[in-house]
């Protein structure tokens, strides 16, 4: 079975129609836990992007040799290998950011979104298609993390990328860890509202 979408459609699908955070509501843990600043969101987004692309390509390459009954453990071990790679790389070259993200980089291994894309896409499709799909999903996650990080950093500490832009702190509450749930919930509701009013206007 081959997909009938071209590479651009595969990438935008991950960012818009099937955005992992806002649409599929998968892999929410880092979105709530550490997206207090744009930089944190960006770093973890890049790590997930890396793992997603490389795991998709790997599985797509070896899909003919995987026995269907052991496919889930194979996916898990493939992801674990790539997570170890990015984990050690980040620890070596970006120790400060790595210390802030703590356990969340290692936890990418249990992210539902990556396993799901391997199961639904990479194990059936060609290598280039899997690459583009992985890129789209990874970028979708990255965009979601950066958007949440942007909102939390701007409203919580009045800054972007650590630079003070507002001069005051509108909602200090937003950078507290437990506010992550509120921010994500409110943003989801907001996007639903926009979508609903957009659909209503389309009907009229």
């Amino acid at each position: 079975m081959a997909t009938d979408k071209n590479s651009l459609q595969l990438v935008t699908n991950g960012i818009l129609q099937e955005n992992p955070i806002f649409k599929l509501a998968l892999s929410m843990c880092p979105a709530v836990g550490i997206s207090t600043t744009v930089v944190n969101g960006l770093m973890l987004g890049i790590a997930v992007l890396f793992v997603q692309v490389f795991s998709s390509v790997t599985i797509s390459l070896i899909k003919d040799f995987i026995h269907p009954r052991i496919r889930i453990p194979t996916y898990t071990l493939t992801i674990a290998t790539w997570v170890t790679v990015i984990d050690l790389t980040l620890a070596a070259y970006f120790p400060a950011a790595y210390a802030q993200m703590g356990i969340f980089v290692k936890i990418i291994v249990a992210f539902a979104i990556i396993t799901m894309r391997l199961e639904m896409f990479a194990c059936k499709e060609s290598v280039p298609a899997s690459f583009w799909d992985g890129l789209g999903m990874g970028l979708g996650f990255l965009v979601g993390m950066v958007v949440i990080g942007f909102v939390r950093e701007l409203l919580g500490s009045g800054a972007i990328f650590g630079y003070d832009v507002l001069g005051f702190k509108p909602l200090l509450f937003f950078i507290l860890p437990s506010a992550g749930f509120f921010v994500v919930g409110l943003m989801m509701g907001f996007f639903n509202w926009i979508e609903a009013s957009y659909a209503k206007r389309g009907k009229k």
């Binding site: 843990c29 898990t76 539902a112 509120f182 409110l186 509701g189 639903n192």
Partner: protein, 316 residues
Amino acid sequence: MMIKNRLNLAVWFWAAISALVLCSPAWGAGIVASTSFGEDNEIIVEFRTPVEVAIAGEAQRYRVFEETDPDILLPVTEVEVADDGTRATLRFADPLNTTSAHVVNAQGIGGLESTTFTVSKSYLGYLLTVLISALLIKNFVFTKYLGLCVFFGTSKRKETAKGMGVVFTIVVVVAVSMSWVLYQYVLKPFHLDYLQIVVFIGLTSLTVQAVDTVLRKVNPVLFKSFGVFLVLVIANCVVIAVPLLMASNEYNYFETLMLSLGAGGGFLLALYLMSSVRERVELARVPEPFKGLPIAFIVAGQFAMAFLGFSGLQLF
């Protein structure tokens, strides 16, 4: 079958705990009968035989340090000895970190040139602290924000919440116990620390597969109601977070067991609380765009704030 297994585990566990409790008084050999922490900045020492009050009351005779930091001496400001000489209270300038063991070296007390003894909290209390900490104070869902996909996915009904929580607890206890053995006896001695992620997640999938196979054959009825949750366990970040915590804290087996029980129980608690609320929210008039997941997130946020109230809780 499963219930019998858990019963066995419980019996074995209590036997081990009581053995530990029975053994602990044997520590304070020599002139010291028992030691304990008093107030924030106090160590209370009881002597077997009365000591000379004047000598025991001299603060400079004592050298006290935490077992993990032998270089940092904690200055003793004052020593109060009971009139009969069987009990001394050492006071310090700053509050002590009572979670770690303290070593006390006393010179010339009770006619001995030097005696050394350690002060620590009762081990049982410490184990319970690890359990309560993983269960409430550092609840994996509400204060560490882990396992959220599964948490929101299975907290719609109380029935599914209970099933998921129980299955998760069993898998996490078994998988983390195996991870501990492998970490202590294979990964650490051979310096294979960088394989942690691969090994821990591999063991978890193995456990899930094994429980799946065994349960399917042994108890098909139970499998029918709990089988669906088994697949979800592997997508839960907590199953990888617990062994990683175990490895970074260098827990021994009992501490690991407590941590995994606390993590599983905490997840069950969080699911049950959440499902109770969500069953009611469905009847409430929620604004259209917030129906479903968004309102669930906001409810979870309120739970997270409530759980902040547990921070600083210290029972032992």
